[in-house]
């Protein structure tokens, strides 16, 4: 469908969202066609229906949904748009599945600049194309000024699990190895460096990335030896391992020296009084792998560009308290606990 010629063109350079863009009238259609369809362009959207139909392949379907609220919206290494694609693709991929389709829903705040919205939508489209998934349906709503932080995005993802894997957080077994796909804490530190009340300069960009391709090579190498996969987003590695420990009724013993963290991330965390193991990642995964398959899976990870810094950081142990413990690089031992409450910078 073409935008009718009698309508004024979207002024993407200088325009901004107003309430008419959410009214369901011409302005809404114009925004959807002129901005989102441009960015996401595919055969499903082109039919302009309120839903999209797609064929179901053999295997089990995987479905996930996630909402994205991030401040600032644009950060080193990405923006809320690329994040909304990567995050949901990764949630599908952590089942060992191949992501296929996304649905995207936008809550726009009155006054939000169209140029920013275009930048976000373009990077969503680019991220989806790069990941080989299609954004096939969506929605936009506009709320009054002050009722949203510029832009919120929800994405829902659908994928297919053709390999017969049943990855689940209760599957870890004593003796399994803990693998991480790379350096921890990059996303959280990149975001915090741009919060206006914290402003510090750091040469770290968000690790935001789609991991399904890495997952595919891991599955090819490890098959059913892979028990659990998770992407350690909010709450970091600490939260992810504590969740798995509880769900699998065991503990973990980590080696601090083996955990990859960039020096600048460590330094920023020391400045803010945070633990890198609590800081969010958006392009990393943790895999719990049977000990006899761990080396093969690790080698496959290291051969993939998104896993070149992958490491074996510890093992699952018997522990009826379900603690995650770590041998410190200093020769002592400590618990790696969940983050308590919100992650706030400290002075003491």
């Amino acid at each position: 469908m073409r935008v009718k010629s009698y309508q004024r063109k979207l002024d993407i350079k200088n325009g901004c969202i107003d309430l008419s863009h959410g009214s369901g009238g011409r302005a809404t259609t114009q925004l959807v066609l002129g901005l989102f369809h441009e960015a996401f362009g595919n055969e499903w959207l082109a039919r302009c229906n309120d839903q999209s139909a797609f064929g179901v392949r053999s295997g089990r379907m995987v479905m996930t949904t996630d909402s994205y609220v991030v401040s600032p919206l644009f950060f080193p290494g990405g923006n809320i748009g690329s994040l909304a694609v990567h995050g949901t693709v990764n949630d599908v991929a952590m089942a060992g599945a191949r992501p296929l389709y996304l649905a995207a829903s936008f809550i726009l705040e009155e006054g939000f600049r169209l140029s920013d919205l275009k930048a976000v939508a373009d990077s969503m489209g680019a991220a989806a194309r790069a990941a080989g998934v299609h954004i096939i349906t969506g929605d936009t709503k506009v709320v009054e000024r002050g009722k949203a932080d510029g832009l919120f995005i929800s994405t829902t993802g659908v994928g297919v699990l053709a390999n017969g894997l049943e990855l689940s957080a209760e599957n870890a077994r004593i003796g399994d190895r803990v693998l991480v796909s790379g350096c921890l804490g990059d996303h959280g530190v990149a975001i915090m460096s741009r919060r206006h009340n914290l402003a510090f300069q750091v040469d770290i960009v968000s690790d935001s990335a789609a991991l399904h391709d890495l997952v595919a090579v891991m599955v090819a190498a490890g098959g059913a030896g892979i028990r659990v996969m998770r992407d350690p987003t909010r709450g970091g590695l600490a939260a992810t391992l504590n969740e798995i420990a509880h769900q699998s009724s065991l503990g973990f013993r980590l080696q601090e020296e083996a955990i990859p963290v960039k020096p600048a991330v460590t330094a920023a965390c020391e400045l803010l009084g945070l633990d890198p193991l609590h800081v969010a990642n958006e392009g990393k995964l943790v895999a719990i792998v049977a000990a006899d398959m761990a080396d093969a899976v690790l080698a496959a990870m290291k051969a993939h560009p998104l896993g070149c810094d992958a490491a074996d950081i510890g093992e699952a142990v018997a522990d009826h308290h379900h603690l995650v413990q770590m041998s410190t690089s200093f020769g002592g031992r400590r618990i790696v606990d969940w983050l308590s409450g919100e992650q706030l910078p400290r002075i003491c």
């Binding site: 009340n197 706030l344 003491c348």
Partner: protein
């Protein structure tokens, strides 16, 4: 990180641990209090207790400004922030500290109060300059280390003739708190045997120097070693304390000579004394009222004093009677002796002060050390 990584070396730590093992007399116990929550954090973070002989024990002291802030002061800040014109600027540490009846600044913000986290006092100045039609109040907390930043802010606010910036002052002092611990009746009853020496906070001494501790060491016969915050610093300080105890000495020694001078930072001391003077007394959560243990604004700076400007009243709050924080902060009990520890009182739902900040004795023990308790119980 230069001046940090070198002091985290594992091999040197093992060497120091051996030295402590050799020099500590197996016939006696050594109980040292690390006054400062920062040291508590380092001890748990690096698992230092695993490296020490069993007869060298560490007692976690009250040196965490968030932990010792009474609920009544949090309540005052919450009431202040509820005023329509007020923007309350706070360090992030304060957001979750419980006031009375389950209140906190985090909850107050959720209910609509304008509470903003700042990293530096200069941020508060910036906020005040941008909101000239509102009242910006800086919620000042901290020991001697943090006070100079507040003093500089007030000096700059005066210079800039900022009329909408004031300070809710809760700055406290280290030596009087140490003295109060040594003078407390339960310590006295035990013949002061519970604490054989203090590990003193280097960052406080970077400002005040080592001299203010001289009288404490002398009068109470307590060895004091001012120590840095890297794990090797703490290990070395423990060795220095073991040696003092063995020699029967009670001196103030400076392990952190790389940044602490005996006289401290004159310029910072001057900034503070220009603006602040002693309060007659101040309540410490868990320790009670301590004479001359806190600061208030001097008279010429009264218009920057939020307590006077907004006629703030402190209403007494009764702490949970089952909470053992007081005894824990004085080193008489350990976190696991408290019935509330790990049951109703956890970092998610702190009851007592020691569970509030990750530096508090109970929170550090819960977060990093409880595996050891489970192990001891099994053994």
């Amino acid at each position: 990180m230069k001046y940090a990584d070198e002091f985290r070396d594992k091999t040197m730590a093992q060497g120091l641990a051996r030295a402590i093992g050799i020099e500590a007399d197996p016939q006696r116990a050594y109980r040292f209090m690390e006054f400062c929550g920062g040291h508590t954090h380092v001890i748990f973070r690096y698992g230092l207790e695993d490296l020490l002989p069993a007869n060298v024990r560490l007692i976690h002291g009250p040196g965490c400004p968030v932990c010792v802030l009474p609920a009544s002061r949090i309540d005052m800040a919450i009431r202040l922030a509820a005023r329509p014109q007020v923007i309350l600027c706070v360090y992030g540490d304060l957001m979750r500290v419980p006031g009375s009846q389950g209140q906190s600044l985090l909850r107050a913000r959720a209910l609509g109060a304008d509470i903003r986290m700042v990293y530096s006092t200069l941020d508060a100045i910036r906020i005040a300059e941008q909101a000239l039609d509102q009242e910006v109040v800086f919620f000042a907390i901290g020991f001697e280390t943090t006070t100079p930043a507040t003093a500089v802010m007030i000096r700059l606010a005066k210079k800039k003739r900022l009329k909408n910036l004031s300070v809710f002052c809760n700055h406290v002092l280290t030596p009087p708190a140490m003295q109060s611990i040594l003078e407390s009746p339960d310590i006295r009853a035990l013949g002061r045997a519970e604490i054989d020496g203090f590990i003193g906070p280097a960052h406080v001494s970077a400002i005040i120097g080592t001299e203010p501790y001289g009288r404490l060491a002398e009068e109470f016969g307590e060895p004091i070693v001012i120590a840095g915050f890297e794990p090797l610093d703490v290990m070395q300080a423990i060795l220095m304390l073991v040696r003092q105890v063995n020699d029967g000495r009670s001196e103030v020694e400076n392990q952190y000579s790389r940044a602490v001078r005996p006289e401290g930072n004159r310029r910072a001391i001057e900034e503070v004394s220009n603006v602040f003077e002693l309060r007659d007394q101040f309540e410490w959560r868990g320790l009670g009222l301590i004479q001359d243990s806190a600061l208030k604004l001097k008279r010429p700076y009264a218009k920057f004093d939020a307590e006077a400007r907004f006629v703030m009243h402190e209403l007494p709050v009764v702490d949970n009677p089952a909470c053992e924080c007081g005894a824990i902060l004085r080193g008489v009990k350990s976190p696991v002796d408290c019935k509330l520890f790990g049951t109703v009182c956890t970092p998610e739902t702190p009851i007592g002060s020691c569970m509030v900040s990750s530096e508090g004795a109970c929170a550090a023990h819960w977060t990093y050390g409880r595996g050891r308790d489970y192990q001891l119980r099994r053994a």
